[in-house]
């Protein structure tokens, strides 16, 4: 029989942090207008950005928590003990040598630089509030690709970024997008000029190092007509005694015929509240694909969305969630069809282990004046232990007789026969279980770039360790 048991994952390798007294800039704990002004002041921002932040702050104060539908665990977030801005004061460094030694050590322990220097075109790593290291291949710069942090993006390229900043996700979208809009720092602002097709993915790493620190990065990617870009982000945090908040806003704009692929592997430690708003806008014949993998965090609430604004636009969300003891992965997708002949596809797979809980929450909307829109949604849930939980809460609003949607969800458990078959071939029960779970998510994992899919398989093996027997 399968019995629940505690799973201890080795996060010690990356488990280190620095005393907050070492930071050159610290906005203190709690949130107020002064904190917002302090952040804006440190960044030397233009007036319109400060106004934007202050307005967002007042919206944040007014908005209620979305607990009429969401988990009540949200009420455990204490906004008054969180640090909203911490930075060492350095500008993003362009070469590895410029990065301060202690930060370099952090990344070296994470195993990032030596691999990435070999493989990757551009890396931007966010260490608490500010990007510490970013590098881009010269030929990318020659092609006119802009890859900077949020502060530099708004300061140095307002003509490009101001137009779309806060447009895909309005400040008042939800309480956490308002919070992010008030105190955002760091993140990536990317612009890909018309027709430029990036052969290699751009990457970012986000890491929380200080206790009680909230991370609020802001990402805006604009793919101009006919361009193509793949962006990958990874997130980690060391274990702290008290919970931490990560609340990002990610806006993608795919102009006519552009393609954006956005890949996230989220492995926060399991006391992080991960409340992220991600949305893309797809113009005519553009294609946006969110690939979203949630393994860590205490509570994740993340529903990547695509607004299909132009004719023949296409949106896709592929989502994998693994919920272990004490975790709630509340993930899903939103597809808002706003033009004819648009198509969308959502495939979500979740695995609940021990007392973990995974939820799928989705929205598909097609108004009646559109024609030939199609949506397909599939949700599969796998329950490992008898006290694991899974939920599915889709919302499908369809008008008109020229569109079609289909939604299907199923829940299953690990088949005893298949485990038996594998054991018969000499695998022990844990290996068989791991193989089974990997098989369950395999068709999605194949969509990930190679190094990520290897990493994912390893992470799943780790999570499965000790869950059986």
């Amino acid at each position: 029989m399968i019995k629940p048991s505690n799973i201890e994952i080795d996060r010690e390798k990356g488990n280190f942090h620095y005393p907050t007294s070492k930071y050159a800039f610290d906005a203190g704990v709690g949130l107020s207008e002064d904190v917002v002004k302090y952040i804006s002041g440190v960044k030397n921002e233009q007036d319109w950005i400060l106004d934007f932040r202050l307005k967002a702050h007042s919206i944040f104060e007014k908005k209620p928590m979305p607990t009429h539908w969401a988990s009540r665990d949200l009420e455990n977030i204490d906004f008054d003990v969180i640090r909203y801005y911490l930075a060492q004061g350095q500008q993003p460094s362009r070469t590895w040598d410029e990065v301060p030694d202690d930060i370099k050590k952090t990344f070296e322990r994470l195993g990032i630089p030596e691999q990435e220097r070999k493989f990757l075109a551009g890396v931007e790593a966010q260490f608490d509030s500010e990007a510490a290291y970013s590098r881009m291949k010269e030929d990318l710069e020659k092609e006119g690709v802009i890859f900077v942090g949020s502060t530099e993006g708004l300061r140095d390229y307002p003509e490009i970024f101001k137009k779309w900043f806060g447009k895909v996700i309005p400040t008042s979208d939800n309480k956490f997008s308002a919070l992010n809009s008030a105190v955002f720092s760091g993140g990536s602002f990317i612009y890909v000029p018309p027709g430029v097709k990036l052969a290699q993915p751009l990457q970012a790493y986000f890491r929380i190092n200080a206790e009680n620190f909230g991370q609020f990065e802001r990402t805006l990617i604009i793919a101009d007509e006919g361009s193509e870009i793949t962006y990958m982000e990874g997130c980690t945090a060391p274990k702290f005694e008290t919970s931490t908040l990560h609340s990002a806003v990610v806006e993608l704009v795919a102009l006519k015929g552009a393609k954006i692929q956005y890949i996230t592997v989220q492995n926060w430690s399991n006391n992080v509240f991960n409340l992220v708003t991600k949305r893309a806008m797809a113009e005519e014949e553009a294609e946006v694909r969110w690939i979203d993998c949630n393994i860590g965090s205490r509570l994740t609430m993340k529903y990547p969305g695509v607004i299909l604004k132009g004719r023949k636009a296409r949106g896709e969300v592929l989502s994998i969630a693994l919920a272990n003891d004490g975790q709630h992965q509340d993930t899903g997708a939103k597809m808002v069809h706003a033009a004819s002949e648009t198509t969308s596809n959502v495939i979500a797979k979740s695995v609940s282990i021990g007392q973990g809980r995974s939820s799928y929450r989705g929205l598909v909307q097609i108004p009646g004046h559109l024609e030939h829109c199609k949506n397909n949604t599939e949700c599969d849930a796998l329950l490992i232990n008898s006290d694991s939980q899974t939920d599915t809460y889709p919302a499908i609003a369809i008008q008109g007789n020229e569109n079609s949607v289909q939604h299907e969800a199923s829940v299953s458990k690990v088949s005893a026969e298949q485990i038996f078959y594998m054991q018969q071939r000499g695998l022990n029960q844990a290996e068989a279980m791991s193989l089974y779970v990997n098989g369950f998510v395999n068709d999605l994992i194949r969509e990930f770039p190679m190094e990520y899919s290897v990493e994912l398989k390893r992470l799943i093996d780790l999570e499965m360790e000790g869950s059986v027997g």
Partner: protein
């Protein structure tokens, strides 16, 4: 909620009129009414009313209650083995059957106000009880009639099927005239004992101005079997709240419904299949065909408690949109807390298949008749759930007639 029914004077006048009732009944009404008066202000954002134009289900247009004894009529064999009486008659004849009222909770799917008003003001409805081992193939029939212009009518039904009894119950909801705008709120409590079987058919043909609130809670004991087939054809707006609680081991709950919407009709359907005991089965299929400006909302939940291992539960919602302005909102939900289960749900929304239409037209059938045939075919797997052959034929006619008018 704004309604004259909330005023203390109105309730006092009602109580005075019904002073002949036993004291415990008066207490129950008073308690329900107090709870209604104490209901918190309705929230703008309420998941149980998502997508629903809630104002359409209010009582603001009503200022009186219909107390005509004719609003429920009953047909069925009476015998030692069965009790089948109107609500008022049962207060006198079988007060012990009604005394369970204070312990009943209703479906709890959003219409708290209607539930409490119904508990306070019910004057009609019926009580049905089949005694142990009683088996009858002939159906018991109840006809409910809608209230007059600007009236509300609250009905309360209690259905108890004792262990190993097997019965069929048919309920019709009709309007006596085609213009009155009354609100009919019908509340059913259905309890099935061990091994009991109940087949229930609901045919709703209210006029196109009426509001219909149809609330029901079904409790299934060990090995009990409940099959519901519901035809929602009439009314301006209908809110269905249906809860099936599988309390005994291996209970089986089947819920089938079809709605045919025209003009501005609204069908707001909220369901839950709650598996509390292990080895249970449940199957739900709600089909909506929508013409003109009509709208259907389906919100269903399968809930499987940690103890309800070995559950098989399915939930399907199919919407056929026949016009550009028709709308179908679907909220199929799963909450699974046990792992030895087979659960799935599916929801689809689409239009008539062009090829099917073409095929029929190429056989010389006009487009409008071809559409009607396809819709009838679409509904066939709901109607086909009824086991009585004559009844199936008459239900087909019901749908077909509604299409013609």
């Amino acid at each position: 909620m704004k309604t004259p029914f909330g005023s203390p004077d109105f309730f006092q006048a009602f109580s005075d009129k019904r002073s002949w009732e036993p004291g415990w009944m008066a207490d129950f009404r008073k308690d329900s009414w107090n709870r209604f008066a104490a209901l918190p202000q309705t929230k703008i954002k309420d998941e149980k009313w998502r997508f629903s134009p809630r104002a359409r289900f209010g009582y603001s247009n009503c200022d009186q209650l219909t107390d005509s004894p004719k609003s429920t009529t009953l047909e069925g064999k009476s015998s030692e083995q069965v009790i089948f009486e109107s609500f008022d008659q049962a207060i006198l004849d079988h007060p012990n059957l009604l005394s369970i009222l204070p312990s009943l909770t209703g479906p709890k799917l959003g219409s708290d106000a209607t539930f409490l008003l119904g508990s306070s003001f019910s004057e009609s409805g019926f009580i049905f009880k089949a005694k142990k081992n009683y088996k009858e193939e002939e159906p018991f029939i109840c006809k409910h009639f809608a209230p007059k212009q600007n009236h509300s009518l609250f009905q309360q039904n209690i259905v108890i099927v004792e262990p190993f009894a097997e019965v069929t119950l048919i309920e019709y909801f009709d309007s006596e005239d085609q213009s009155s705008t009354g609100v009919l709120s019908n509340l059913s409590h259905i309890q099935l004992g061990e091994g009991a079987k109940l087949n229930r058919v609901v045919v709703q043909r209210l006029n196109s101005h009426s509001t219909f609130n149809h609330l029901e809670k079904v409790e299934l004991g060990r090995n009990a079997q409940f099959t519901n087939v519901s035809l929602q054809l009439g009314s301006a707006q209908t809110r269905v709240e249906s809860r099936g609680d599988i309390i005994g081991d291996a209970g089986e709950f089947n819920n089938y419904s079809l709605s045919l919407g025209r003009n501005n009709q609204l069908f707001d359907q909220r369901t839950i299949q709650h598996h509390i005991a292990p080895h249970g089965k449940s199957n739900l299929l709600f089909k909506n065909a929508l013409l003109d400006n009509s709208k259907a909302i389906f919100s269903g939940l399968i809930k499987v408690d940690p103890a309800a291992q070995h559950t098989d539960s399915f939930q399907t919602n199919r919407n056929l949109l026949l016009s550009k302005k028709a709308e179908a909102d679907s909220l199929p939900g799963l909450e699974i807390l046990a792992n030895e289960v087979k659960c799935s749900h599916g929801a689809t929304t689409s239009k008539i298949d062009e090829q099917e239409l073409f095929y029929l037209q190429s056989r010389g059938i006009s487009k409008s008749i071809a559409e009607k045939l396809i819709v009838l075919g679409f509904f066939e797997d709901i109607i086909g759930q009824v086991s009585n052959v004559d009844l199936v034929e008459s239900l087909r006619d019901e749908v077909s007639q509604f299409f013609n008018t």
